[in-house]
Amino acid sequence: MRRGGLWALAAVGVLAVAGVVLPRWLVFLLTLAFAKGVAVLSVVVLMRAGLVSFGQGLFFAAAAYAAGFAMRGWGLREALVLVPLGVAVAVLLGAVVGLLVARYRDIFFAMLTLAFSMVLYGVLIKAYTVTGGSDGIRIPTPSVLGISRAGDEARLLVYYLALACTAGSAWLVTRYAQAPAGYLAWAVRDNEVRVAYLGAPVNRIVYGAFLLASGLAGLGGVLTALNVGHVDPGLSYWTTSGELVFVAVLGGSGSVPGALAGAVVYEVLRSYAFKYAPYAWQMMLGAAMLVIILFLPGGVWSPVERWWRRQQA
């Protein structure tokens, strides 16, 4: 196994132990960060193809609500059923939306994705009898592999589920980035005309990246729902999508570990900012972002990447 893989395995091992050792509030926060990190990976996948989506909240919310409806309507509790269900709904939605948006680039792509997520937001707000309107719906505690627990133990189960899903997603996106499919997405960003003259259908490459991104955003949404125990239309609001782009830039756009590290830094920053300045936490986040842009323009993960490159050289 390569050194990168060993480091990743070691990180998963440390985080697995951390679940037992760390205080409960921090475990909850880390679970939230993992879920967000997976959704941020969806932004990373699209950025690879030169696309910035301001509408990943669409899939994030759709998958979260799908899990919520399945729990409330069908009485499903098993997370290993709810997670694939949410991802499937997100991918299906991506398959439909992607037919249109995969033809667009730049600001047009960004605005179209934003528009779709806001359409869902409107539907979730207005369809009160089904969705609970702006209040959203409460989600019962899930079981994992048939194990049902309550309170902190239930949260710990969701933590391990989120950790496994995050590790799996990181592996998947890394593999994608190293495969021809990922390189072709990169090539589309560099030079679409050339890609077509290599015999590869450009829109299909973008469509494939969009489907993968939809699934990842959906996975992040289900995990968030299972962790928080509540879904509301805010998951589809533009600020949620913007937050995912914000975290991708914070972590270091294009980097898988950067996206995950960025999500952890973001959640911790947000928590503390909210704790010490509940009415000005966005301002504090903005200030933190400015500091990072000034001193770490490559994102919070960039010093680690530089160190890694030196080791490889």
Partner: protein, 249 residues
């Protein structure tokens, strides 16, 4: 009698009042190296754009190995075996020279077989390095394509098309923007690689010496029309052709 690799019949296209192609009819046979010459605005690049599906003709037929390709998209025509290089090299500037070729090789292999295997698979890297060796670019393999000099970019542009193992290669001014000495080096390299692989080529060129030395046949375009079509010595020494192409008899 040989089967034509490319048949163009009655090809017509206008951009408003400008005639880009007017009833162009050409047949290319396997093994030919056809030089396409003409003054600026004669419709040389348009001719390549029509054959490769970038533009759609108003009228006319384009057949590759007997198959009508009018209406097909560039990636579909490329997949049939028509490669293309560009006047301004179209590279993936942030990828390395080797990766530029690897991406081409991966698309040639098909979608599902190779979609999830790493791009840098040893067998694929070996194939890419063989192509780079043929084009004299192996020493630059790990450099970003954006760092190559113009001559290197021109060669890589053709190497990427060549990696697809095309049956017909269309090259748009493969020697433009490089020094006079480099021109012949580039053409020697290109032609040797193409001959070894049995690739038929059609190349647009402004330099008459290059055309005279490397083309087996010359096609002269002027105002979207075919002015002459024949052996290089015969066509290029024609005063009418010289006047149309260079402005001097």
């Amino acid at each position: 009698m040989k089967t034509p690799i490319l048949e163009v019949e009655d090809l017509t296209l206008h951009f408003g009042s400008i005639t880009a192609a007017e009833r162009e009819t050409v047949i290319v046979y396997p093994g030919e190296f056809v030089g396409v010459v003409g003054p600026n605005g004669a419709g040389k690049t348009t001719f390549l754009n029509l054959i490769t599906g970038y533009l759609r003709p108003e009228r006319g037929v384009i057949r590759f190995w007997g198959q009508d390709v009018v209406g097909m998209k560039p990636h579909q025509i490329t997949a049939l075996g028509v490669g293309r290089s560009f006047q301004i090299p179209q590279l993936f500037l942030t990828l390395t020279v080797r990766e530029n070729v690897l991406v081409g090789l991966a698309t040639r292999e098909g979608r599902w077989a190779s979609a999830w295997r790493p791009l840098h698979e040893p067998t694929r890297v070996q194939a890419a390095d063989e192509v780079l060796l043929q084009f004299g670019l192996l020493a630059q393999a790990d450099r970003p394509a954006g760092e190559l000099p113009e001559g290197g970019r021109k060669l890589l542009d053709v190497a990427m098309a060549f990696a697809l193992r095309p049956r017909l290669l269309l090259m748009d001014e493969p020697t433009s923007g490089v020094s006079a000495r480099e021109k012949f080096q580039i053409m020697d390299t290109l032609l040797q690689a193409l001959r070894e692989a049995g690739v038929t080529a059609l190349f647009v060129e402004h330099d008459m010496e290059v055309v005279r030395r490397y083309a087996t046949r010359v096609l002269v375009l002027s105002n979207g029309r075919i002015l002459a079509d024949g052996a290089p010595g015969e066509v290029l020494d024609d005063p009418e052709v010289r006047l149309a192409v260079t402005g001097r008899r």
